[in-house]
């Protein structure tokens, strides 16, 4: 009996020390992590938005749009930058997309993902989004591999689930932009 208590106390001591050390490291790194995340979003916003003034952040619909920023040029809303969520292969995908009022995709960037390095992770490259640019209004957003040019279709081979996740999010964002239809 006494032995069990000694074992339990020793294990508890190890856990307590470990928890204390982790809390200490967390205290040092947490502000840095928050700052670099905010900086990454700010960088991404300036990359995908070429013209106009980015307005106040508006909460999204809770389904696919986390939040969005209306972008105005001369008092009129020209496009929307949205933070979109969908499901990838390894977990949630968070995508920042820039949409014209008519739903056309101007640009997009994959912000957060847990995709497989070397396969789905390639969606983080800026070139990956080229196949979606200009779609959403006159042309539909390519949501199937058969809707892509053969070179683009080859490039997503092996990461079809990632492609579907990204395209569904962008399609949703495009529809959402049409629904907003120019209002702030």
């Amino acid at each position: 009996m006494k032995n069990i208590i000694i074992i339990a106390v020793k294990l508890a001591v190890i856990c307590l020390v470990a928890a204390f050390v982790l809390a200490l490291v967390n205290g040092i790194t947490a502000p840095q992590i928050a700052a670099s995340k905010a900086q990454a979003e700010l960088d991404a916003l300036s990359v995908i938005n070429k013209a106009g003034t980015i307005g106040e952040r508006v909460e999204g619909d809770g389904a696919g749009v986390n939040y969005y920023f209306p972008v105005t040029d001369g008092g009129k809303v020209t496009n929307y930058i949205m933070s979109l969520t969908s499901m990838g292969y390894g977990g949630n995908l968070v995508i920042l997309g820039n949409f014209k009022v008519n739903g056309e995709i101007i640009d997009a960037k994959l912000m957060e993902d847990s995709e497989t390095p070397g396969l789905g992770k390639k969606a983080e490259n800026a070139e990956y989004m080229n196949k979606f640019k200009g779609t959403g209004a006159d042309k539909p957003v390519p949501v199937k591999k058969t809707m892509l040019e053969s070179a683009d279709a080859d490039a997503v081979t092996g990461a079809t689930i990632t492609f579907t996740g990204v395209s569904k999010a962008l399609e949703y964002g495009s529809e959402f932009a049409k629904k907003l239809g120019g209002q702030k």
Partner: protein, 198 residues
């Protein structure tokens, strides 16, 4: 003493000879930069956990040693994860889920159980370093072969080298998980053959 370091490099290489830690090996060997990042994480965690387990070997009760080791290892992995996310966010984003998976990397628990809890601190440090460097070398070799043949590139920190000819039509299967098994199997066969001829 120096033997404790060198044995992990070739004679008892964790991947090719002991065949420990194959899961992260197969998963992170798609690009050279990932292999180097993963290797650095494993070396740090392996050396730190070996030091602490060697120091605590008389304090940790024998019948709860595995949970105690896991707590020590998991703490160091979490520290690596937080520090990496704060100061090297690009590497953290590239390695993703594989960083927390260092906790269950059999090499680390294996060295704690087989070496650090029976030896003094200095040999344990050397053992951890040797095993970690051996793991990194093997992982980088696999990643180099897979990236060159599978994607036609070599991704190093800060630059990407494109291999001429291969990059036009790379053997995609080598970049897939099946390719990882093929490359690992062939390399292991090669090292076995070399060993057998001695």
């Amino acid at each position: 003493m120096i033997k404790e370091f060198t044995k992990g490099l070739f004679k008892e290489n964790p991947i090719f000879v002991i065949a420990l830690g194959l899961c992260p090996t197969l998963a992170t060997s798609t690009m050279v930069i990932n292999a180097l990042g993963m290797g650095a994480g494993v070396i740090f965690v392996l050396v730190c956990s070996n030091i602490f387990i060697s120091l605590l070997k008389n304090f940790i009760p024998d019948n709860v040693r595995i949970p105690a080791y896991i707590v020590v290892i998991a703490s160091f992995v979490t520290i690596v994860q937080m520090v990496m996310e704060a100061y090297a966010p690009a590497l953290y984003a590239a390695l993703g889920v594989f960083v927390p998976l260092i906790v269950v990397n059999c090499i680390i628990l294996g060295r704690a159980e087989a070496f650090a809890n029976k030896n003094k601190v200095l040999p344990s440090i050397l053992d951890g370093l040797g095993m970690g460097v051996g793991f990194t070398l093997a992982l980088t070799l696999i990643a180099l072969i897979r990236e060159v043949l599978g994607s036609g590139t070599i991704t190093l920190p800060g630059c990407v080298i494109t291999v001429p000819v291969i990059s036009i039509a790379p053997m995609r299967v080598i970049a897939f998980p099946a390719g990882a098994l093929l490359v690992l199997g062939l390399l292991k066969a090669f090292f076995q053959y070399k060993e057998g001829r001695k």
